[in-house]
Amino acid sequence: MTFQNNNTNKISQELDLGKKSTAIKVSNLVKRFEDLIAVNDVSFEIFKGEIVGILGPNGAGKTTTIRLLTGIFKLEDKASIEIFNEDITKNLNKYKINFGIVPEVSNAFSDFTVWQNLKFSGGIYGFPKEKIEKRSKKLLEQFGLIDKMHSKTKALSKGLKQRLNFCLALLHEPPILILDEPTSGLDPISVKIMRNRILQLKKEGKTILITTHDMQEAQTICDRILIMNRGKIIADESPDNIRERFKSTSTILFKIDGVLSNDQKNTLMDTFNIIKEENDYYVFSSDDAIKDISMLYNFSKENNLNISDFKVKETSLEEVFIHLIKKDSISIGG
C-alpha cells in the first residue's frame, strides 16, 4: 500500500489502458451535402464503458457524425466502422441492435400511446410479448412514466417525451447508447434527472456517446471530449486534460466606460480576439497575460478609452472550447 511511486502509477495506468477494449472505432467518416462538407475525414475510438462527449457549435457536424455511425447516411468508400472489434461497415443492419439512440427531438410515433410505442419497438427487435411488457414496465417505472403509459405521445411535454426516448433506446438492452443533445431544452430538474440516469447507465457498463453544447454537462459526465468544428475533430482529450493544457491560459475580463463607436469596437474585437461580451465585460483568452494587459493599456490610451474594471481568472472549459473553435476558424482562414 505504501510502496507506490510515480513509476508504478504510470505502469498501472498503462496496464489499465491496455485492458480497455474498443467499443466503437470509426475511421475516415466523410459526408458531403452538395458543395458543403459536413463531416470531414473524422476518425475516433471509444472504449467500453466510457462516456465520450462530442462538443461543437451548431453545424459542426456532430449529428451528421451520429447519423453516419448509425447507418442513416450512407458511408463513403474509405470509411469504416468497427463495433467491439468487428468491422460492420458492409453489414449495417446486423449491428444496429448494439445501439440505443436518443435523438434531440422525439421521433416516437406521436399518435401512438407511450405503451404502443414501446410495444412496437420491442416487436421490431423480435422480443416475445411477455419480455416486452416486463421490460417496458420496468423502464417506465425507472423514468417516472408509468402513469403516462396510456397517454398519447403527442400529449406529453418535451421532458416526458425525452424520457420516453430513453425508454425506447434502452428497451432492447443495447451495450452502446448514442445520445444526441439529450438534455437540450429541458428544465433544470429534468436535466439533473437525465444526467444522473446517464451516470447510472455508465455504472451498468454501457458505453455512451453524447453530443452536447453544454460545457457543464460535458465536464460533469464525460470521461473524454471530442471537440468538433467545421466537420473536423479539433481536440480529443479528457475534460481535465483540456483544462490542464490551457492552464497557462488566462481569461481576461474588462469593462470600458462609455459607449464605443463601431470602428473602436471592431478594432477592439480584432486586436484582442474577444470571445464574448458578458454583463458589460469584454472577455478574451490570453496565453500571455502580462503582454496582453500592457497591450490593452496602450490600446485604451491610444483610443482615449477608460477601463473601469479589470479581472484575470483561470480559463473555464467553456472558454477553452470557444478559444479552440475561434482558433480553428482563424487557422482555416475564416
Partner: protein
C-alpha cells in the same frame, strides 16, 4: 431469419394501418372521392346496375389502394419516425412491404364490404363460384397494384403529403378515364383504345365485365396476366426509386436547417 423479417413486416403493416387509416387524405382520397365520383356519374343517367357495380368496385379498389402509401413516408419523414425505424434492424424492403401490405389490406377490406353490400342489395347473380373467386382475385390484384402505384409516387423525397397526393392524382385520373369504366372499350375510338392498354384499371374493369355480364374485351387470362405484369413492373420500379431517393429524403429533410446555419456562419466569417 425469414420469420424475423416477416414478423417485422407484419408489425410495420399493423402500425401503418392503425396510424394512417383515419388520416384526412386517406379518408378524402380513399373513400369520399370514389363515392362522390360514382354519384356524379350515375345520377340522372340510364346506366345498368351491372355497369354501376363494375364502376363502383373498380373505383373503390383503385382509390382505396392508392390512399395509404402516399401518406406514410412523407408523414414519417416529417415526424422523424422514419429515422427511428431506420436505426433499428429494419431494411428498406421491409419498410416498403409494410406499406404495401397495409395499403392492400385496407383496400381489400373496404372493397370487399362494398362489393358484398352491392351484391346483396341488388341481387347480382354470378354463374358459378369460380366466377366469384375470379372477381375477388381481380380485386386482390388491383389492391396490390394500387398500393404499388401509391408507393411509386411516394418515392418523391418530400415530407409533405400534398406533394405526393398531387402526383398520385395526376396519374390516377387519366388512368381512370381511359379504363373503360365510363365508356366500354368496344365504344372507344382507336387511339384512346390503344392508350387504354396502358391503364392497369382497364384489365380489372374487363375482368369484372367477364364476371358480371360477359361483355369483356380481352379474355380473363389476359386480364390477370396484365395485372400481374403491372404488379411486377411497379414493384421493381418503385423499389429502385425508393432505394435511390431514401438517402436524399433523409439528408434533405434532416439537414436543410443545419446547411443554412453553416452557410450563414461561413458568410459571416468570410465577411470578417
Amino acid at each position: 431469419m425469414i420469420t424475423d423479417g416477416l414478423n417485422r413486416i407484419w408489425i410495420l403493416s399493423k402500425k401503418n394501418i392503425s396510424l394512417y387509416i383515419k388520416r384526412g387524405p386517406v379518408l378524402i382520397f380513399g373513400l369520399m372521392f370514389p363515392f362522390f365520383m360514382t354519384l356524379s356519374w350515375v345520377i340522372g343517367r340510364d346506366i345498368s346496375i351491372n355497369h354501376v357495380f363494375i364502376g363502383i368496385v373498380s373505383m373503390t379498389s383503385f382509390f382505396t389502394a392508392t390512399a395509404i402509401a402516399p401518406v406514410v413516408l412523407p408523414i414519417e419523414t416529417r415526424e422523424k419516425s422514419l429515422e427511428r425505424i431506420l436505426v433499428s434492424p429494419i431494411s428498406l424492403n421491409e419498410i416498403l412491404l409494410g406499406i404495401i401490405i397495409a395499403s392492400t389490406l385496407y383496400s381489400l377490406i373496404i372493397t370487399s364490404i362494398i362489393t358484398i353490400i352491392f351484391i346483396l342489395m341488388f341481387s347480382i347473380v354470378f354463374l358459378s363460384i369460380s366466377i366469384i373467386f375470379l372477381m375477388f382475385l381481380g380485386i386482390c390484384l388491383m389492391s396490390i397494384l394500387g398500393s404499388l402505384l401509391g408507393l411509386l409516387a411516394a418515392a418523391n423525397p418530400t415530407d409533405r403529403t400534398s406533394d405526393v397526393m398531387l402526383i398520385v392524382n395526376l396519374i390516377k385520373f387519366p388512368l381512370l378515364f381511359i379504363s373503360g369504366i365510363f365508356i366500354p372499350l368496344q365504344n372507344l375510338p382507336s387511339n384512346l383504345l390503344f392508350l387504354s392498354f396502358f391503364s392497369p384499371i382497364t384489365f380489372l374493369v374487363d375482368l369484372l365485365r367477364f364476371c358480371v355480364d360477359g361483355s369483356n374485351f380481352f379474355t380473363y387470362q389476359v386480364d390477370i396476366i396484365m395485372l400481374l405484369i403491372w404488379i411486377v413492373v411497379l414493384f421493381i420500379v418503385g423499389y429502385m426509386l425508393h432505394k435511390r431517393t431514401m438517402p436524399k429524403r433523409l439528408a434533405e429533410t434532416g439537414k436543410k436547417k443545419k446547411m443554412m446555419m453553416m452557410k450563414k456562419k461561413m458568410e459571416v466569417m468570410s465577411k470578417k
